[in-house]
Subunit: 336 residues, 4 copies
């Protein structure tokens, strides 16, 4: 017999919260039970469209008994407390990344989660992208032999507003963190971090002491080397590529085409349209798969969801990258 | 104020009928009102999943007053009568291709439809494929200058069962007919048809005097020349490409990738996975767009749906191709 | 011991004659012995640059005893007589295509060559292009199973001067003839020809009753179908592609890139530079390989050079295409 | 009036010396005057094939007065002395990279060359590769706006013999040095170096304390960041790619195709043959262009040849990369 849908409490109804609300409504194994946002109008609009009760209080949501699991899509500073309250109620959590910008708060939360024994998944949605997941599975299957180099290119279409940059924790904790997790998806045991950052074009970055351009190099315990190239802008659109180089060959993940049509003229041949606009388009399938996997996790069915510890590891790496970029040293890391 | 959804009566619940049922259920502007199939179990299964009343009688469906429009997905020999009955009731029709295998029955139906003044759309779904539609729009916009040559490659993954071939009317009326309409999407006024067919691999084709491999050449009134290459099989998967060559350049529609991942080894580099399996995958977006456009047609809002006359034109061209392939003559055609 | 270089007499010092002169000078197994052109200044310029004696008389060249073999690159109407004189002297011939525009003159020459027993090679240089030769070898090796469809795209960058068109014998005998031979390179036994031609843009074609755009369809004895798409112009440059479709897969020959660099901007991504300008660039390697193979032929070492009979077959096919395009009938052909 | 060919004295007749000998013989503006190699048999074989007098003494060559310029292709430890002797005789020099493995010897040579006032070119042949040269010219022309990131991928097909590794000075001074110069071709002013190296597969590297896999990150004075990925092996062949990312777009240099043919089957589609074998194939055109440009330099006609100072800069960067990889620090550099 099919179990009843997992009743999900959604906290936060900004852009990413709305993506999750739509995903919950579309998934036959989930239902949107409660929607919380201190800006209650946002919660109401979401619940009207996708179902569930609207509330302005996350505590109400967590304590109501109406939800079987919690999806946290609220601002980063609220994550740690909301995870703690949820697991205290025995509610499995899917939390958007990053857990927090302060690793000491993350470390403090770690034993709390362990003791609660409740699963906490982190929203590293790119692991669920069909292309990246397939590339990784094919590496695991040995198609290219031992993995020796991994190159990740990740460039946003345009720099965020200066205010966003101020609160983001900087490019490494905000943007690179996705790529650091992708690196760990292929090579979980990273032991050293180098990074270099520049301010080339973004006023917001300049204002807040952040970088708009960065390269991060990681060394894995196996000796494999990872390179991550980031930029806060990209004229051709959202640029998300990966290349896994191994002893016997190479797997490459290309950008997703936005059309099958190419144009050839006297000026240039086989020109394709620019890349997809941004992550909502590029990772639409990944968000759906992430949610499905979280249901399995919440149900105790076995799951490949990235966990709280993956979120912690990514933050440790981001901190190390930040320090390396600032101090010009290679930073050894211990993710255990 | 949003009008209520268009209540659609679906006739036929085979593979393509089920695609349409799912599309009707997913489209906020349509609702599945009645489902008819003489094999009433099929109708019931569809109505249970996607809504609507099940009946074993198409006449019941058409006469019930429960449907605002009719979608005909039943076997080809039933199309003419069902269209006639529907328009007699004033019900707009979306009919799967072909209208009929016998052009005389189509010609007889033509004045009936004209007099009824009810819109009849034909299910040439490929016109709604984003890639083909974009290529055609860009040709219309003049990106490649005057269109001089159009090349269409259309190969099914594997030959159909011999029984299907027997009833299909042959490769030109069954398979090429889609490409003939695609040719007319770019170049409506075709004036001459040449074709050559071969029996190379398919027992069913051999048995029933059909071809499994065919090339059709069309001349448009403008002098532009169209080439259509068909095969009943394709080891690499469903092969659907188009190339529009004009005075100032070329637009090419590639096959849809099934993954963004490519593999390079000592044997070969940049190898991609095989093409999509078949039309349900390749044209999923097209079916949805086709339905949306039919709603506009039924509502009298203006529509780009291919019409009964497009269906008739495609059949005339298919007949001409058949004759050309059999008799070794170029066949002039008059589509007016 | 290495034999002395083959002493070649070159007749004709136009564009293609100069290509051959350079090739003869560059090949260590050949030497340019005599150069003949009624426009003796041309002969002198070539001999000064590449060696050999200049003369205004082809008869002088053929009768001089100074040449071991003859390369005929003079105007088409002179080919038949020059071949006849050469083989009468026992001199192996490499003759540019076509043999003649009049098939009756070709047929009359046929027994002459047979009786002389002297090898006559035809300048179908594309057979020696590394890409086409490799594609054909891989078809022969069975990589794609039985060959079922062959598609050839062949478009010149720009229409020739009207005068050229007048003397060329028309697009089929002048341009398509290369593609007809390429078709026979893969499928020697062609049994039927269909063609359609249009006059779309070229004043010269219009003036002289020729076509500037043509599609030719061939049926091979095996049932395989060949499509040849020709145009007298191509905005993107010299367009030379081929696709061999078989029971187990497909081999595709792309246009040669003119640079490894591609450009991506906000307008379009991965845009490459236009194709090569024309045949001198595209087939440079082929001309060299053609000459090398002719040396083997002249030396009786075994050779894959296309022969007089291949030249005759291509002309028969071109005549059939011309007739099919004019009369709207499929033309059966017998190439034996 | 055309000046007489530049008489070149070639020192060293190993693999690269032979490439240069062939290039000198093929270039109409150069002639091979003297060939020196202590292994005089090698010198003799080269002079027999490409001209010039053979000698076992480089001093003889330099002092003979028979050469207008010197091309040094002997083992690295001899470069400094041979450059010094040549410029002392007023002979322009084209020297293979690296100048020396010891930067102090290079610094000592620097004022000697300056005082002599004789041009010394360094054999960074990749600057002359048509693809890299075109990409750089297009960056200079502003096609992608300000250059922000430069990614260089450079992988040899297979690890060299262990003996070679021992004498090579390590991967950074031997292999990366080409890429460091390529970085400076686009961004001459490099100010900081980070590197990470691993020993993953090559016994020779392990034995001699070298790396077989390395990533080097450079920061330019402009803030632009360069990434260089190196490997001593590559299953798919010689892997030489570059990507220049700018404010307005991206220029990419692909690997050179070894064939225009691609294969599609039920297993994979559009698979191309592996990349070229190694540098002799990949950079054939570059060696010819390098020599031509050196002739201009030697003749005082103005030249784009990389100079002794470029060779020195690359070695400083290689040393910095070596130190960074060993000590885990970012190394600031001053190339002035």
């Amino acid at each position: 017999m099919t179990p009843p849908p997992l009743r999900i409490g959604l906290i936060g109804t900004g852009r990413i919260g709305q993506v999750h609300a739509a995903g919950i409504a579309a998934n036959p194994r989930t239902t949107l039970a409660v929607v919380a946002d201190p800006f209650v109008e946002g919660a109401r609009r979401v619940s009207e469209r996708y179902g569930g009760r609207a509330t302005d209080s996350a505590d109400d949501l967590i304590g109501s008994g109406e939800a079987d699991a919690v999806l946290i899509a609220s601002p980063t500073p609220t994550h740690v407390d909301l995870i703690a309250s949820s697991v205290a109620q025995g509610l499995p959590v899917l939390c958007e990344k990053p857990i927090d910008l302060d690793i000491s708060r993350v470390e403090a939360l770690r034993p709390v989660i362990r003791e609660a024994g409740v699963p906490v998944a982190l929203g590293f949605n790119r692991r669920f992208d069909p292309a990246f997941a397939s590339a990784r599975a094919r590496v695991e299957a040995g198609e290219i032999g031992a993995l020796e180099q991994l190159s990740i290119i990740s460039r946003d279409p345009a720099a965020p507003p200066a205010d966003y940059v101020r609160a983001s924790g900087g490019i490494f904790r905000d943007m690179t963190i996705h790529d650091l997790d992708m690196a760990r998806f292929f090579l979980p045991e990273i032991v050293e971090v180098q990074a270099v950052g520049s301010r080339l074009f973004d006023e917001g970055a300049r204002e807040h002491g952040d970088f708009d351009t960065a390269v991060t190099t990681l060394r894995a315990a196996s000796g494999a080397i990872v390179t991550i190239a980031n930029s806060r802008h990209s004229a051709t659109g959202y640029d998300q590529r990966l290349e896994a180089f191994g002893a016997r060959g190479m797997l490459q993940v290309a950008n997703a085409p936005t059309s099958l049509v190419s144009l050839s003229t006297a000026q240039h041949v086989e020109a394709k349209p620019p890349y997809q606009e941004f992550f909502l388009e590029r990772y639409a399938a990944a968000y759906a798969a992430e949610l499905a996997e979280f249901v399995s996790l919440a149900r105790g069915e076995g799951s490949t969801s990235p966990t709280f510890d993956d979120g912690r590891a990514a933050l440790i790496l981001a901190d190390a990258a930040q320090r390396s970029a600032e101090e010009g040293v290679a930073v050894p890391v211990d993710l255990s």
